[in-house]
Symmetry: C2
Subunit: 282 residues, 2 copies
């Protein structure tokens, strides 16, 4: 979490981190990684390169003396582990969940109690019942953490991380000292790391999910009324931020327009193909 | 279409082409780009890097003295332009459609008549009624070809190209003469071109689709009974090829296992997020 500070001060020349770790310093940095009910992985990348994201996020980073390049994406994340299955919005009332950032803010608005707990202490907190739920990443990473052993109800989708992008942060002085050839080499390498990471998660998640289900973990889909309430509160939160923060308004308007068009388009051929294939006996 | 020959002979050192142009020379090269009812764009890439695709496709290319690296993907394509909307499987009977490769073979098995017509002659053939339908790519490319003016019913999804991968073919002698540093630079550059192309299509397709619909083009989804029949015949074709061609059998078994696991996994969090977002008023 000190990565941005280290890049800003020049202690390190670069760092690999999600931009949204730093929303406490600057809320608009959320858009670099993604926000609840934002974009899926392909859309997030498309927004960066062809929808205005690159300039808008790097403008927000300028005061931290850093430049960001996309470098990895896990794909849509799972919704985390729950001691008890969530069957209605009412089940969220007072539920203590380890979840940070904007996801936590939205959870709070629909009745939950977001908690910040370091990675190493989640297991014990869930086992003891100090917390009721915790989110992490997706099957491949989640399996290693073993949270399903103490909270065996595994939710989807992770609506707060539809396509989280990891970034390669570079100190501006270090970046500007590079020739255009070296800059291009850094960008191409970041893209290769991005492609490699996405492909690896897509290949490793299915096997991990199957092992988890075989071990007794139960999958459940977040109830529609909970998704609807979370969506409504996320939009209300973004609207409030647009009123109080002109920078937020500027980026969010660009992002929201892009999101509307992307979902209009993905509804046709991508969803038509995916829905059909997912319904087949293969 | 002479790109592979030119790479094989060393007339050129490299070429940018879809692998499936060469299924006439070697059917298994279809897997480099994708086959009907195959993988979506992310899954295709994941199969290449982590599901066995890289070795299997490059083994199939070895006799052509070429090595392939993924370099671009349009995402799922549209289903093409039809003079009359297809409302049932019966409407396909005798329908003359410009469509090549395995897509054409499957169309033929469900009653259609696949035609090979060069790009420059499609418009006139559709206008005159020499053919009844033609497929191309997706809105951004299709709009430029103007086929919607003479065949204004625009179908989805393009089940024969769920996530077509473009490739960077390199003559083996040229490739092997490179140092490992240069090889890595070529691979990273190909990945950057891949990321750039996918992001560009995802950003440009929605606007093109909106313009096309505003100009009077009507969107329609292929009827379920037609999709089901095409899926069944595609699977029968792959099964026949597995019986007659041991190389096909070897690659298809790897590909099909990967496809089954990917669709199992994508059904949960990716589809859960995408379905929800696509249903919202944004």
């Amino acid at each position: 979490l000190q990565a941005l500070d280290a890049v800003t001060s020049g202690t390190v020349e670069c760092a690999h981190t999600p931009t949204y770790f730093y929303v406490g310093k600057e809320p608009t940095l959320g858009f670099g990684t993604g926000v609840p009910f934002g974009l899926n992985a392909r859309q997030q990348h498309s927004w960066w390169y062809f929808g205005g994201g690159e300039k808008l996020v790097n403008d927000a980073l300028a005061k931290f003396k850093a430049t960001s390049i996309p470098c990895g994406n896990s794909g849509c994340q799972m919704g985390g582990f729950f001691r008890k299955e969530i069957k209605s919005l009412a089940d969220l009332k007072g539920l203590k969940m380890r979840i940070g950032g904007f996801g936590g803010k939205v959870l709070e608005r629909i009745g939950g109690v977001p908690q910040n707990i370091p990675g190493g202490e989640i297991y014990q907190a869930l086992e003891k019942g100090t917390i009721d739920a915790a989110e992490w990443v997706g099957p491949y990473d989640d399996e290693k953490l073993g949270l399903g052993k103490v909270a065996p109800n595994y939710a989807y989708p992770g609506w707060w991380e539809g396509g989280p992008e990891l970034d390669f942060f570079i100190n501006d002085k270090a970046w500007n000292s590079l020739s255009s050839e070296y800059k291009a080499a850094v960008e191409a390498s970041a893209s290769h790391a991005h492609v490699d990471m996405q492909a690896k998660y897509d290949a490793r998640n299915p096997a991990a999910l199957k092992r988890m289900v075989a071990s007794g973990i139960k999958l459940f889909r977040f109830p529609k009324e909970m998704m609807d309430a979370a969506f409504k509160e996320a939009m209300a939160l973004y609207s409030e931020l647009s009123t109080s923060n002109p920078n937020w308004k500027k980026i969010y308007e660009d992002f929201a327009t892009f999101r509307r068009d992307e979902n209009l388009w993905f509804r046709f051929t991508e969803a038509g193909f995916d829905d059909f294939m997912q319904a087949q006996r293969l």
